[in-house]
Every structure is written in C-alpha cells, then in structure tokens.
Symmetry: C2
Subunit: 411 residues, 2 copies
C-alpha cells in the first residue's frame, strides 16, 4: 500500500493536473461548455473518479458525478462539488477547487471509514458561468428544475452554434445518459474560492457563507444633445456624459454611505458619438447592485433610480432605464452553518462568517435541499483571471472542514 500523500500535496497535484485541460496561452484556463477542452476535462475526471473508487456517471446535461453508495439510506444523497466550466481565460481555482476538494474528501473518507450510510456524491457541474451561452447555472439548474432538457433555451454562442447543437455534438442531451432532475438530494456543500479580500485581510483560511447576495442589474440611457465642443457655451449644453458622471459619483456616494455589505458598480458605459470635439448626445450605462438583504436591496435600488431621475431633470436630460436582472438573496441553511462553525471551533481552524457577493451553484441547489458553502482565500481577491491563487494550506483547511461535515452527514 502506497503512503498517503499529505492533504495539501494531494489537492495541489489534483489542481495542477486538472489545469492542463483547457490551459491557454495567457497561463489561465478556458473551458467553455461543451467545447473540446471542456469534454476532455469531464472525461479525464470520469477516469480519475473511477480510479479513486468513486463510481462515475454523467447525466443528460453533462454533469459528472462520482458516487459512494450509502449502505443504509442509499436514496439520500449528500452532494459536494462545484463547476468545471470557466470564463474565457479564467483562473485555476474558480469552480475547479470545489471538484478537487470533493473528490479528495470522498476518496479519503472512503479509505478511512469505508462505505457511508447515506450516499455520498461529488459533482463536476457542467456549467455555471454562462460564458459560452447566455445561460447561467445550466448544470445545477437542470438538476433542480430551473432548467430542463424538455425546453432547451434557443440561444447561440458567438459563432452562431445553438446550445442544443453544441450539447448534442458533445454527446449529451435528452435521453443520452441519466435524467438530470434529482429528488434524492439530502444536502449540498460547496467549497469555492472567495473571489474577494475579506479572508485575506483577516488572515483566516475559511469563510462560512451566510448567504448569497441578491442582485439588481439595470441599464440607463441618458439622452442630451450632441453639439460642437467649441461653439456651445457651458450654460447651453445638455451633455449626456457630464450627467452620467454625476450619476456615477452619486451612486458611489450612496453605496459608501449605505456601508458594507452593499456594493454598487457602474461597469459598462458607452458614449455616442464618442468623438473628442463633440458633446456627448447620449450615454448607455449599467448599474450592478448587490445586498444580502432583500428589503435593503429593494429600497436602495428604488432610491438610486429616483436619484438618477432627479439628476437628469436638473440637467434637462432625458433618462430611461430597464431592470434586466433581479435575483433574490439566498440564505444558506442555518443548521449546516452551525455545524460548520462547530467543526471549525473543534478543529481550531480560523473561520469568519461572510456573504457571497457572487452567484454560485449552491444558491440553485438550495431550492431543493439544504445548502451550504465554504470559502477559502483568494490572493488579492482576484478571480476570473490567470492570476487567481489560493495557498495549498488554505485549500487543505477548507477541505478538512468539508470532509468533517460530509462525515457528519453521511456516516
């Protein structure tokens, strides 16, 4: 029998190995749903799960599971994992770490304690980011009924390939593998990188996610009057860009005043005609608002829209807006949170409660079973970039906590 690797080394090796699938020139990883890089990764994970003693299978959407069947309650599945897809030129950790941690945890539990009472599964979810098709959470969504194989969205990628075509070309789709929809889930636990700086600043290895923030996204169009930058006096202008600047600053001021955990961002802005010597006639810009409390999000969002209309009116600008996304905050399961906190305390692993400012599969799973998330630090808070990094010691700390909770739930 070969000697057990340290948990740190085992996780590090698995992450390095997985990063080869979709490795890109920028030093990052690009695994877009149903592309060759994605397929190679899922099939390699299939083999690796088999080698680790975790009976692998796909569902129709392309989600990959590695299973340890329960001896007493085989129909109650404790699930862990995360997503295998990435953004374009993403990092090595976002999504992948949750899969590696889940595989490692199941393998170690199996080696140490044998078969679980409840079924344990690790999942490599086929898609979360929505970076190839404008469809997020395709993997977890098909498992929970948010999406369905019987009504595949009629969307296409940048090359005009439809989601249905791409899925079929990858060998997935209705009745190709096991059905996606699950009614056996007992709990879902996801380990993920924080994608923020809270844990790093606190110097703690584990974050216990209290909930996932609600999101409101809006697009505003400011209309003024295109005019000659040299011949139009300041007092006669209806400058759409100056008005937008005032709104952008007002948004920042309101967000700072509201305080953590509220965040507000103007990330996208397009000026027309966008010429140096012409006063901007119109500006289109987006606003992204997030808060873990639904009422606070609603009230801040309404206040900001009113504020913007006031600014527009004071400058004789026309303003219109459209809210194109509204996701309610999703609290994580109270009991699982308490278990996680108790485990950290018992094992003396430093932890901190925090909110996730980004969306995760756990929020989708929470519609059908108790769900919880663990965060581990992201260096400098960086994510969606080849510069993503998480220390092996932190990966191991998070995986230890995960393993303890899985043991508690399944053995």
């Amino acid at each position: 029998m070969k000697p057990l690797l340290s948990l740190e080394r085992q996780l590090h090796n698995l992450m390095e190995w997985l990063a080869h699938y979709g490795a890109d020139r920028e030093g990052g990883v690009t695994r877009l749903l149903y592309t060759p890089a994605w397929m190679k990764a899922q099939h390699a994970l299939f083999e690796r799960m088999k080698d680790a003693g975790l009976a692998p299978y796909f569902d129709d959407a392309g989600n990959l599971f590695g299973r340890l069947e329960g001896t007493e309650r085989p129909d109650e599945t404790v699930l862990t994992g995360s997503h295998v897809d990435t953004v374009r030129s993403g990092g090595l950790y976002d999504g992948a770490l949750g899969i590696a941690a889940g595989m490692t945890a199941l393998q170690r539990l199996h080696e140490q304690f044998g078969k679980p009472k409840r079924t344990l599964e690790v999942v490599s979810l086929c898609e979360e980011e929505g970076s190839r098709f404008p469809v997020t959470f395709w993997g977890s969504g098909n498992m929970t009924g948010r999406w369905s194989m019987s009504r595949i969205p009629d969307v296409a990628d940048d090359e005009g390939v439809s989601l249905a075509e791409a899925m079929a070309a990858a060998g997935f789709g209705p009745d190709t593998h096991r059905p996606c929809k699950r009614s056996d889930l007992h709990a879902y636990i996801e380990l993920h990188i924080e994608q923020g700086m809270v844990l790093e600043k606190l110097g703690l290895p584990v974050g216990i996610v209290q909930g996932i923030v609600g999101q409101v996204r809006l697009t505003f169009e400011v209309c003024g009057e295109t005019n000659h930058a040299g011949t139009t006096r300041m007092g006669w202008r209806r400058d759409a860009l100056a008005g937008t600047a005032e709104m952008t600053l007002a948004l920042e001021r309101e967000a700072v005043a509201a305080g953590d955990p509220f965040v507000a961002t103007v990330g996208k802005l397009e000026v027309a005609p966008n010429v140096s010597n012409v006063i901007a006639g119109s500006v289109l810009f987006t606003v992204d608002l997030r808060h873990p409390d639904a009422a606070a999000l609603e009230s801040l969002s309404r206040h900001i829209v009113e504020l913007f209309y006031g600014i527009a009116a004071s400058r004789s600008l026309r303003l219109s807006h459209r809210q194109w996304m509204h996701a309610e905050p999703v609290p994580m399961d109270r009991q699982l949170l308490a278990e996680l906190e108790a485990i950290c305390l018992r094992k003396q692993i430093g932890c901190h409660p925090l909110h996730s400012g980004a969306g995760h599969d756990a929020q989708i799973m929470s519609a059908v079973c108790p769900a919880a998330m663990l965060f581990v630090p992201s260096r400098a808070g960086i994510s969606h970039s080849p510069l993503e990094h998480t220390d092996p010691a932190d990966m191991a700390a998070g995986t230890e906590v995960l393993m303890e909770l899985l043991y508690k739930l399944a053995y």
Copy 2:
C-alpha cells in the same frame, strides 16, 4: 437682359444647386477630399464660375479660384471664400455658404461696378475638415506654406488609400495646375455659419469674429484595478470609472466657474473591460479645452491637469496624459474688424462681436495676410449635421456686408 434675382433667392438657389453634389441618403452632404462627389462639385463650380464671368483656375492641391483681375493693382488679391469639403453626412451650409456668398458677391460687384482696381478672387478651398485624411486645412495650408506639395504627409484614409494617391487619382498634385503658395494676398474675408447659438439667441443676422479660440486637446488614461463587482467592498476598490466621473464633473465645474468664453469637454471615453459586473480597470478619455486668450488657456489647462492628478492620487489611481493638440488663439485683423463694424452700422444690419469656438481657414490665411470672418446664424446652433439651417435673409445680410467690404478693399 434677364431681371436681377433678389440676393436671398440667388443665394438660396446657388446653395440648393451645390447641395446636389455629394447629397447623401441622410439628407445631408458628404464631400470628402478627392472623392467623386468632391470632384463633381469642384468641376461644376468651375463651370459656374466661368458662366458668372469669374475666370476659373485650379491650383495643384485642388483649390478652385474664380478671378476678376484688378485694373490697377492686379498683383494684390482680395480673396474671399471657404471650403467645399464636408464631414461625413454634414450639412448644406458649413463651408459651402462662404463659397456661394463669395461667388455671388463677385458676380454682383462685377455687374454693378465693372472691373475692380485690385484683383478679386473667390476660392473653393479643397479641404478644411480633415474628414477623409487626418490632415486639416490642406487647402488653405498649401496656399500659406503650412503644407507643401513637396512634402505630402504620408497618411491614408480608412481604406488605406494614401493622400498622394488620392490626389493624383483626382488629377491634382505637384505641377498639375498652378502652384499653391501665394504671395499676392492682400486680405482674406470668409463668411461662415456660426455653428453656435449666440446670434440666434440675440436675434442678430451677423457676427463679427474677433478671433478664433486656441485649443488644447489631451488624452488621459486612468488605471485602477479590475475587480469583481459583487465581491469587492466599496472601500477596497480602485475604480477607474468612478475616478473618471469625478474628473469629468470637476472639469465641468471649473469651466462653469471660469465662465464664457471658456469651454471644456469630455467627448470621448472608453472603459476596459466594460462589463456590467466588473469594476473598471482602466479608462481612456479626451479633454477638449478652448479659449480665445492664450494665457488664460494655458493657465486653465495647467490647473485642470493638476486637478486631475490630485483626484487620481486621492483614489490611488494611476494617471497619465498626453497633449496631442495645441493651437494658439488667432486674432482677426483689427482694421478689417473696424471696417466690418462700420459697414453694419451704416447699413443698419444688426451685428455682434463674438469668438469662433471652431477652427477655420481664416486662421490659416491670417499667417500671410490680414484676415477677417463674418458669421451668420445657425438654427439651434447645429452644424456637422443634415439639420444645419441658415435663413436666406441671414445669408443675404451676411453677403451684403461681405460685398461692401470687398468693394471697399478692391474698388
């Protein structure tokens, strides 16, 4: 002998006729340097000048002149006119009106008073806008030595055609017609639309241009840190777009405080990565500053740059800038201004002294001879648009004043 048309009707007809050359789908006019539309316009004007008794000729650059040779001082030329080229989908008046007014004035003076003592010429300048090639004032520049046929700039249009090729294809270039450089200019008088709202707001038909503003144009690059809009707390952000918004508003505030005639504009702005859920990592934006007083322009420009660096520093943003245009203010000839004012007073034509916020050929000509400009109102201040409009009564008022000054200088 056919009855004389009223001046209004004559100008209106000539403008309508000229607008056919380069008429575009948007209801505007597009005559880019050396294109077929431009060539047809210049050759049609050649024929029309001949019919009007104004001996026409081209110079090597493609400037078209209609000449009434002086009987006593033929080598002292009093020149009037403007540019025949337009921006893409420009209006019917910008440039064209100065040519129409000049042709009409010369024809009428000739009919009424016979040959002038000094030579009178009207010019249809080949290019002022720089809308096909990144070269402004190519027409007047070749006449004054700012540009020269012996060193044609190595520039190309959007299709990759070089200026030299385009010129040759249109039948112009070194030694094809008369030399461009002029040493016989006694004065240059240009009638042009105001491209602003001063005359319209005052309800006056004629503006006497005191000078052309100086211009400074700069590009700023603001560098912050690209980050996740959901997971990065407000206090931890280095948001390049929020910083740019603060600079844009500060610029507006400074310009309003400095008061007329200073104008300052952020017209062009590019955000990266420009994604709704990502904090902007960098922003590139332009600043256009104009003032008729060189010292004031210099001091305001310096102050604004300092202000921007202060804002960047307070937000831990990196800032860099490049000044890519600096044009000194150009005062018009004092004596010609006094003559114009006296003429308006005598003829009881309402006039107002103002500055040109835009560049004009008159500023180039003023390097080699006394130069003056007359403005007539632009409806709603609109220019560089198919919506340009000037009332025939205003065109006629301006042309009357022009005609009087030409008479005074040449007869």
